[in-house]
Amino acid sequence: MTTAAPTIRLRDAALQFGERTLWGDLTLDVAAGEFLAVLGPNGSGKTSLLKVILGLQHLSAGTVEVCGRAARRGSSVVGYIPQQKSFDRDLPLRGRDLVRLGLDGHRWGVGLPSRGATAKVAEVIEAVGASRYADAPIGLLSGGEQQRLRIAQALLGDPRVLLADEPLLSLDLQHQQAVSELIDSRRREAGTSVVFVSHEVNPILPMVDRVLYLVGGRWAVGTPDEVMTGERLSDLYGTEVDVLRVRGRIIVIGAPDDAHGEHGGHHHHPSAETDH
């Protein structure tokens, strides 16, 4: 890990909605070029953490800084890949247009065509390998193709921090791997910090530096080997949780899928483990 100043600094950060504490006393530095996976059950505040870093959600307590400044909305040093959602099939928008909006869509006015902007958009689209289908209507593309264009859109402003919210959701295994490798190569080449929210650690396990595991108001942070153990997770969940390692994969058994749910909920996506 580099000794440069951290790109994200959380100090005693807490987020509460009414009586409910999503997480509290969270102190965490994310280094330049670090790949941080944010894991945890539904409703544990993973997406809310991204919103805090994006400046869209105020902390209930503590502070958050991005590249030395208090987090604020619309910051140009942050790139954001949202949860995969499907576009209407007849939405009049090409992949190229979606990427272009990432460049200057937040400005007033019509936005006249400019050669510099067009070239820049073409360059990032080429970099993520999406040139072949960038001119097709976005609604006709597959989930994997759309996610590549999302990554291009997020990388357009050369962000120092890349926030990804479940970018692998609804992708098949081959695309999960391609998309996560794309994000990984970017942070290696450009030293971009990656905060990667996921409910599944295995597709990104080879590239993860540290894991932030959120469960019902509590959290743990460390390398996957430190955090993804039966002991740590049982402690976090407050119930008996087993962690198995099978052929380099991590399987969590007995963790309730809902942060506030009772025992006996779904296991940690066991169906996703039956590949190969």
């Binding site: 994006l54 869209l56 909305r73 619309g74 910051s75 942050v78 954001y80 949202p82 949860q83 959602k85 576009f87 007849d90 939405l91 009049p92 928008l93 090409r94 247009d97 979606l98 909006l101 990432g102 200057d104 869509g105 937040h106 400005r107 007033w108 006015g109 019509v110 936005g111 065509p113 289908y133 097709a136 209507p137 976005i138 006709l140 593309l141 597959s142 994997g144 193709e145 590549r148 859109q153 997020a154 695309h175």
Partner: protein, 278 residues
């Protein structure tokens, strides 16, 4: 001979000028109405301009002033009650039902009920006074400028709200401003085609354009072109005819363009691969 005579008359020229500005604005915001699924908001604000017009007639003796002022009240009410997208349509329904009831009551207080009601519901652009026309032109120009300023953020917010918000677009503000733009445009268009037929200028041209291209700029351009053809074409055709109102021609032209666009779009899509393997 008849047509050229009419075209040299100030009343027809003014009407065409108003029609042109209204068509450009309608065509410009049409794609956003379709993308944001706000057809019901168009219908609601259009029908409620009936109430505004009736109130205007009664209070200041001018339905146009009343309709324009009323549209701002309606946009504010929809904006306040329909904060969340899920609630929007039901909020519009609630306001629409109550507002129309008020409109019917107001109009019953006014003498000459039948003529005015017909004019409001089906349009009467050739009958407006020069003062009203000036007001319509001013509002149309203002709306056009506002939409141009709003354009990029509105596009971003309409197609990709999550990322737009993260990049600093204020979704609520943009949505509310668009509601005002929409309400004013719809009210203006209602002066030409009437409150009942506004969709033929606000939705049909954009829906036709979307069949032909997936490029936002091209869709916007085509939508404006189609709205102009339908609106000005309809106005000119009605000058030729003694009995048929302009709104009839506008809706017919607009529908014909849509039908042609569907056929042409179908032919375009045949050559486009829909299944892709990356």
């Amino acid at each position: 001979m008849g047509l050229w005579f009419y075209l040299s008359q100030p009343f027809a020229q003014h009407a065409l000028l108003a029609g042109t500005l209204v068509a450009i604005t309608s065509g410009l915001i049409g794609p956003f109405i379709v993308t944001r699924k706000m057809a019901f908001a168009v219908h609601g604000t259009a029908e409620l301009s009936f109430t505004g017009a009736a109130a205007g007639l009664l209070v200041v003796g001018d339905p146009v002033v009343g309709a324009l002022a009323g549209s701002l009240v309606v946009a504010t009410a929809i904006g306040l009650l329909g904060v969340r997208e899920r609630e929007r349509d039901s909020a519009i329904g609630v306001i629409l039902a109550f507002g129309l009831g008020v409109g019917v009551y107001l109009l019953s207080l006014y003498h000459g009920f039948a003529t005015e009601a017909t004019n409001i519901l089906f349009g009467q652009i050739f009958g407006v006074s020069s003062g009203q026309l000036l007001l319509l032109l001013g509002v149309a120009a203002g709306v056009l400028v506002a939409t141009t300023i709003l354009y990029r953020q509105l596009l971003f917010a309409s197609v990709d709200a999550d990322v737009a918000e993260a990049r600093g677009v204020r979704l609520r503000l943009v949505g509310l401003l668009f509601l005002f733009v929409l309400a004013l445009t719809v009210t203006e268009a209602a002066q030409i085609v009437g409150t009942l037929l506004v969709l033929s200028l606000a939705i049909t041209p954009a829906a036709a354009a979307q069949r032909l291209s997936a490029r936002p700029a091209v869709v916007t351009g085509l939508s404006i072109l189609f709205a102009l053809l339908a609106c000005d074409g309809g106005l000119i055709a009605s000058l030729e005819s003694d009995t048929i109102k302009a709104s009839v021609f506008v809706t017919v032209f607009s529908f014909a363009i849509y039908a042609l666009a569907r056929i042409a779009g179908g032919a375009l899509h045949l050559g486009r691969p829909t299944a892709r393997v990356p």
